[in-house]
Amino acid sequence: MSLAMIGKPMAKSDKRSRPSLYVSLAGAWVILMLLTALFADHLSPFTVTGIDLSHRLVPPVGLGGSLIHPLGTDELGRDVASRLMHSVQISLLVAFGATIISICFGTIVGFMAAHFRGPVEQIILMLIDVQASLPFLIVALSILAFFGNTLALFIGLMGLYNWERNARLARALAISANAQGYAGAVRQLGAHPIRIYFRHILPNTAATLTVTATLSFPEIVLAESGLSFLGLGVQPPLTSLGIMVSYGREYIATAPWLVIAPSLVIVVTTLSISIIGDWLRDTLDPTLR
C-alpha cells in the first residue's frame, strides 16, 4: 500500500509558477466536495434513510428519470443524490480524522526517535519496519475482527494508515534540523526539548509534512471506501461511498447508476486530491522526489 507514495512524475516545466488548468479543475472539485460535506444536511432534498417504495429504482435524469431524483433512486426508493452527499460527508470526515491522527502520531513518534536515539530509536525503527511489511487492509481487518466496529474506533484505525511513513519522514527531518544552527542555539539557551521540537523544528518542517499528508489523503479515502465496500468499515444507517458501491452492485445489470454515481465520485475525488498533492509537493518542497 505504500506503493502509491510514488507521486506522479511531473514534467519539469512551469509547475512552480501558477496552477495549471488541471490543478485548478482539481481544486474546484475538491472545494465542491468540501462544501457538499459541510452542508450535506441542508443541501440534500431527502434524508439518507427516506424510503419511498413506490419510487424504487427510478433512473437518473436523461435516462427516463425526473428532476425530483436527479440521480435516480435505489432499491428502496431512497434518493441517490442525497445519499451521495451524505456519503461524501462521512468519507471525508473519516479521511480527515485519519489523516490528522496519522500525521500527529507519526510526527510524535518520529521526533521521539530523533530525540532519544539509541535503543528507543532502534525499537521505533523496528516497529516501522514491521508495519511497513504488513498490508494495511489485512491489519485493519484483523483489528476490526478482534474489537468490533464503531465510527470512532474506525477513524482511529484508519489513523494508523501510513503512520510509519510519517514517522520515518519526521525522524529524518528532525535529525537534520537538530544538526542545524537554530535548533542548537535554542538548546543552548536552555529550552525544553518539547519546546524545541514543537515551537522550532515543527514549523520548519511543516511544509514537507503537509505535503505528505496531502499525498496520503487519497489513499486513505480509497482504503476507507474499500473497507466499507466489504461491509466492514462505516456501518449503516450511516452511509459512505464504499457502502453505496457495495449495495449498488447487486443491481448492476438493471440499475447501473447505483454503482456508477458513487464510483465516479470516488475516482474523481482521489484523482483531484492527488493532482493537488503533486502540485503542492512541486511548489512547496521539490526535494520530495
Binding site: M126, V130, S133, S142, A145, G148, G226, V245, I252
Partner: protein
C-alpha cells in the same frame, strides 16, 4: 555477503516474533476469551474450568510463552465455526488465491515493466502520455470499481464472460485481468520514473560516449540500475500473493483466502483471522528477504552496507 545475509535473516525473524507478539496482545486485549466463547450467561464454575483448561489462569508471561510454543508446533487453534484446525481451513483456500495472483503477477511484471521502460525511453511522446494516463487511472480507480466496470462491460453488456464464482472455465479471466491491470499500472509508473532517473545519470552518458550501442546501454547499464527500486515494489507484490486480492475476490465471489478473511472477520472467527495474519506476515517477510538477497546480487555495493536500502 554472509554477514549481509545474516543480518537480513535476523531482522526477518525479529519481525515475525513482533507480529506474533502483536496478535497475542490484541487477542488478550480484545476481552476475556472464556466469556466470548461460552457466552455471558455461562456459570462461574464453567468459566473457571474453561480458563484452567486453556491456561488462562497462568501468569501472563507464561501464557505468552506457551502461545509462542503452540505456534511453533503448528497448533494455531480451531475455527469456531466447525471445529476444524484453523490452519487447514486456511490452507485449503491458498491454491484458489494463487490461481488468481500468480497469473496476475506475471501480467503485472510483463506489462508494467515493459510499459514503464518503453515510456521512459520515449519520454514526452504520445506513447509516454498514454502509459502515464494508464498508470494514473490504475492508482485512482479502486480495484473493486475496476472489477465492477469490467463486469458491466463483459458480463452485462456483451455477456461473454462470467461475472463471478469459480465453477466455469472462464471464471478466472475477469479477476486476473482486474488484478493485472491495477498492479501493472503502479509498476509502470514506478519503472518509468526509476528509468528516467537512471538515464539522466553520468554513467549512462559515459557509456554511450565510449561507443557502447544504445541497446546495450539500456539493457546493461540503465535497466540493471533501475531494477533496484522496482524490486522493492515487486517484493510488496510478491508478499501479496496469498491475501493481496481481498477486494477482488470479494467482488467476484472467488473462494480464496481473501474471501475467507472477510467472512471470518464478519463472524469474528478469531483463530482463522490469526492464521491469515501470521501467514501474510510470514509471506511478506519471506518476500522481503528474497528481495534483499536479490539486491545483494544485483548491486554489489549493498553487500558491504547492510543498512542501505533501495
Amino acid at each position: 555477503m554472509f554477514r549481509y545475509l545474516g543480518i537480513r535473516l535476523f531482522r526477518a525473524l525479529l519481525s515475525i516474533v513482533l507480529v506474533i507478539t502483536f496478535t497475542f496482545m490484541v487477542l488478550r486485549a480484545s476481552g476475556d476469551p472464556a466469556l466470548q466463547i461460552l457466552g455471558p450467561n455461562a456459570q462461574a464454575s464453567a468459566l473457571e474450568a474453561f480458563r484452567r483448561s486453556w491456561g488462562l489462569d497462568q501468569p501472563l508471561w507464561w501464557q505468552y510463552v506457551s502461545y509462542f510454543l503452540a505456534i511453533l508446533r503448528g497448533d494455531l487453534g480451531r475455527s469456531m465455526l466447525n471445529g476444524q484446525s484453523a490452519l487447514s481451513v486456511v490452507a485449503d483456500r491458498i491454491p484458489m488465491s494463487l490461481a488468481l495472483t500468480v497469473p496476475a503477477l506475471l501480467i503485472n511484471v510483463m506489462l508494467g515493466v515493459s510499459a514503464g521502460v518503453f515510456a521512459a525511453l520515449h519520454r514526452d511522446t504520445v506513447v509516454d502520455r498514454a502509459v502515464m494516463m494508464f498508470s494514473v487511472v490504475g492508482f485512482t480507480v479502486p480495484s473493486y470499481v475496476l472489477a465492477l466496470a469490467l463486469i458491466l462491460l463483459f458480463s452485462v453488456e456483451f455477456g461473454v464472460l462470467p461475472s463471478g464464482g469459480s465453477d466455469q472455465a472462464l471464471s478466472f479471466v475477469l479477476p486476473v485481468v482486474t488484478l493485472g491491470i491495477g498492479g501493472a499500472a503502479t509498476l509502470a509508473r514506478f519503472t518509468r520514473s526509476a528509468m528516467i532517473e537512471v538515464l539522466g545519470q553520468l554513467f549512462v552518458t559515459a557509456a554511450s560516449a565510449k561507443g557502447v550501442s544504445w541497446g546495450a546501454v539500456v539493457r546493461h547499464h540503465a535497466f540493471k540500475n533501475a531494477c533496484i527500486p522496482v524490486l522493492t515494489l515487486l517484493g510488496l507484490m510478491l508478499g501479496g500473493l496469498i491475501a493481496g486480492s481481498v477486494l477482488v475476490e470479494n467482488v467476484f465471489g472467488w473462494p480464496g483466502v481473501g474471501q475467507l478473511l472477510i467472512v471470518s472477520v464478519a463472524r469474528r472467527d478469531l483463530a482463522v483471522v490469526q492464521v491469515i495474519l501470521l501467514l501474510v506476515a510470514a509471506t511478506m517477510t519471506a518476500a522481503n528477504l528474497v528481495v534483499d538477497i536479490l539486491y545483494g546480487i544485483i548491486d554489489p555495493r549493498l553487500r558491504s552496507r547492510p543498512s542501505a536500502r533501495g
